[in-house]
């Protein structure tokens, strides 16, 4: 398989060795099956060792893998009769965010999500999944449309961040993100958010105010990119690996901090190794959450969402401490 990451090199070498041995044994009609079996066993052990102990930085690399399933990949596998809808009705149609209506296991839902490309050409067209204000405004328009028709909303988050560009600032990047945060809090339908790859700061959060928030096993969610943090902390973007460890950005970290509701498993090596399998796990989690949330009234849904974010934060009160 192409697109191996640097830390997967030992596996690549071993796989090549096994292939060479197999070719050699066929060519020379030699029985090397015992030797091959031994190496295959070693390969499984090495896979277990590497993939079972992924560092935060390795997870960041998996989350950014060019083959990482995108929002449209998940839509294709999870929704029937999907109709993509376009535009913010004000300025334009941002290709970095896709959205529309489809049926999830028979239930009409609205889906919005960041959309990255699969290759350089598509990534340029999609602006590498970095939205402009009109992308966030399109997402909000579709979510408010869902609210009107009582459709649950699924949000797929996968962006390096909101686009840091001149036009984005001129058109109100801050306002577009801020408005989404406030308006999502007020929607009367279930909202399920899933970080599927990169959860890049405010540009990710702008699709991330939900009743449930999940993360794929190798995704990350961070207030600043590891490169950005490294540049600020150590004046050296190449220290990103160190920053990734310091910042506590993995799904496991966020679960421990109580920020997310659950982790969706990925196949060994990452979601790009088996997109169908990943989509199935994702679908199971969404189905269960939808079943729970669709029992709640609009007021209960708003309250549930409020409480979810209201309790987040770690601090101390000095009142009463002096008495001790």
């Amino acid at each position: 398989m192409s697109g191996e990451l640097p830390f997967e090199q030992p596996l690549v070498e071993l796989r090549r060795k096994i292939a060479e041995l197999r070719a050699f044994s066929e060519e020379k009609a030699l029985d090397l099956s015992q030797e091959i079996a031994r190496l295959e066993e070693k390969l499984r052990e090495l896979e277990q060792e590497i993939y079972g102990n992924l560092t935060p930085w390795q997870k960041v690399q998996i989350a950014r893998h060019p083959g990482r399933p995108t929002t449209l990949d998940f839509i294709e596998r999870l929704l029937d009769d999907f109709v993509e809808l376009h535009g913010d009705r004000v300025f334009g149609d941002d290709p970095a965010i896709v959205g529309g209506i489809g049926k999830f296991r028979g239930i009409p839902v609205t889906v919005v999500g960041h959309q990255k490309g699969k290759d350089t050409k598509e990534n340029i067209a999609r602006n590498f999944g970095m939205p402009h204000p009109e992308g966030y405004r399109k997402a909000l328009r579709l979510m408010q449309q869902a609210d009107k028709f009582g459709r649950p909303i699924l949000c797929f988050i996968n962006t390096p961040g909101a686009y840091p560009g001149m036009a984005a600032e001129e058109r109100g990047q801050s306002e577009a993100i801020a408005r989404n945060l406030r308006e999502m809090a007020a929607l009367r339908v279930p909202i399920i958010c899933v970080v599927t790859g990169e959860g890049g700061s405010g540009g990710a959060l702008a699709l991330g105010v939900g009743n449930r928030l999940y993360m794929l096993e190798n995704s990350f969610y961070s207030v600043i990119s590891p490169e950005g943090a490294a540049a600020l902390l150590w004046k050296d973007a190449s220290q990103a690996q160190r920053a990734a460890e310091t910042m506590k950005i993995t799904a496991q970290d966020l679960l421990e901090m109580g920020v997310i509701d659950g982790i969706i498993p990925e196949p060994m090596g990452g979601a790009h190794r088996d997109v169908d399998w990943t989509a199935q796990r994702l679908g199971e989690v969404i189905a269960k959450a939808l079943d729970e949330l669709m029992r709640l009234s609009p007021e209960e849904l708003i309250e549930d969402r409020y409480e979810k974010y209201r309790r987040l934060g770690v601090f101390t009160s000095l009142v009463g401490m002096a008495d001790r």
Partner: protein, 300 residues
């Protein structure tokens, strides 16, 4: 370590140190000051135009440069003093202090240093008071405290202020001055954007007035949450306001940005602000807007 007005006190205690001086008194005091000899080391140079002024002179002018109108940063107590009616301020939640949830290198030191230098416990002071007799809930950020960044305590204090304004049905006034979400608390800082904005959703639904005043600088996670959500968004002249940092944008688009990019005036021109208001006009403008929203007057 803290100034005495931040001593042991519970919620809702008043802050004697933040009482404003009556205008006539200020003028008299300034006149007296001018007759006296001013000691050395009390001069300040304007970053923008280079004009050198006496610190006392500058204070008397609400910290606005007489040479070029540059608005120097105000501390939270200074802002409260020049905005609210004398003696009307009652502070909320002065007891909240930050922790170090990530075990982030250098963060506890940074907090201690900021506390010592600013005399504040955190980067925002919240409470209630009156402006020309109109009762308001107010929050003021202080850029001296880790660049006014928003971590758990800032998010919590602002959220509680919004919740109290909602309960008491009072107008809300937030003065922002912040570099954005606080990196040292990681994703918990990011979540404060959602928390404060969700509280504003409830406030909004109750039909109450929120005036956001963006001062220099208001960027990142603060500009991309509560600071942009005012019914009326006001900025001080020349204030830097934006989502992404100038350097990051220049690196991304590989071109130099115009000098006025992300200034208050630039935002006004692009339809992102309601008003740019000079510091000397701010209090009167706020009072007028409060009046136009028919807010109840204390004692009437």
């Amino acid at each position: 370590m803290f100034k005495d007005w931040f001593g042991k006190r519970k919620r809702y205690a008043t802050l004697p140190g933040v009482q404003p001086v009556r205008r006539e008194d200020a003028a008299d005091a300034a006149a007296r000051e001018e007759r006296r000899e001013i000691p050395e080391g009390l001069l300040i140079k304007c970053d923008r135009c280079g004009t050198i002024t006496y610190v006392k002179e500058l204070d008397k002018n609400l910290k606005v440069c007489r040479g070029c109108d540059y608005h120097f940063a105000l501390s939270a107590p200074e802002r409260i003093r020049i905005t609210l009616d004398e003696g009307s301020f009652v502070e909320y939640d002065a007891d909240l202090v930050s922790e170090d949830p990530l075990g982030f290198p250098g963060y506890p030191d940074k907090l201690a240093k900021s506390q010592a230098q600013s005399g504040l416990r955190e980067a925002v002071v919240t409470g209630e008071g009156t402006i020309d007799g109109f009762a308001v809930v107010i929050g003021v950020m202080d850029s001296r405290f880790i660049m006014g960044s928003m971590g758990s305590v800032v998010g919590e204090k602002i959220t509680r202020a919004i919740e109290r304004a909602t309960e008491k049905r009072l107008p809300l006034l937030l003065f922002s001055a912040s570099g954005g979400a606080r990196m040292q608390e990681g994703v918990l800082s990011l979540m404060q954007m959602a928390k404060t904005s969700a509280a504003l959703a409830r406030f909004h639904r109750e039909g109450l007035l929120f005036i956001s005043v963006l001062t220099n600088p208001t960027t990142g996670g603060v500009s991309a949450s509560f600071a942009s959500l005012g019914d009326i968004n006001i900025a001080e002249p020349g204030a830097l306001i934006g989502f992404a940092g100038r350097r990051i944008i220049e690196q991304t688009i590989r071109q130099k940005l115009p000098d006025d990019f992300q200034t208050a005036e630039f935002l006004l021109k692009h339809g992102q602000l309601d008003l740019v208001v000079h510091r000397k006009e701010m209090r009167a403008t706020l009072a007028k807007l409060l009046d136009l929203h028919q807010v109840r007057r204390v004692g009437s």
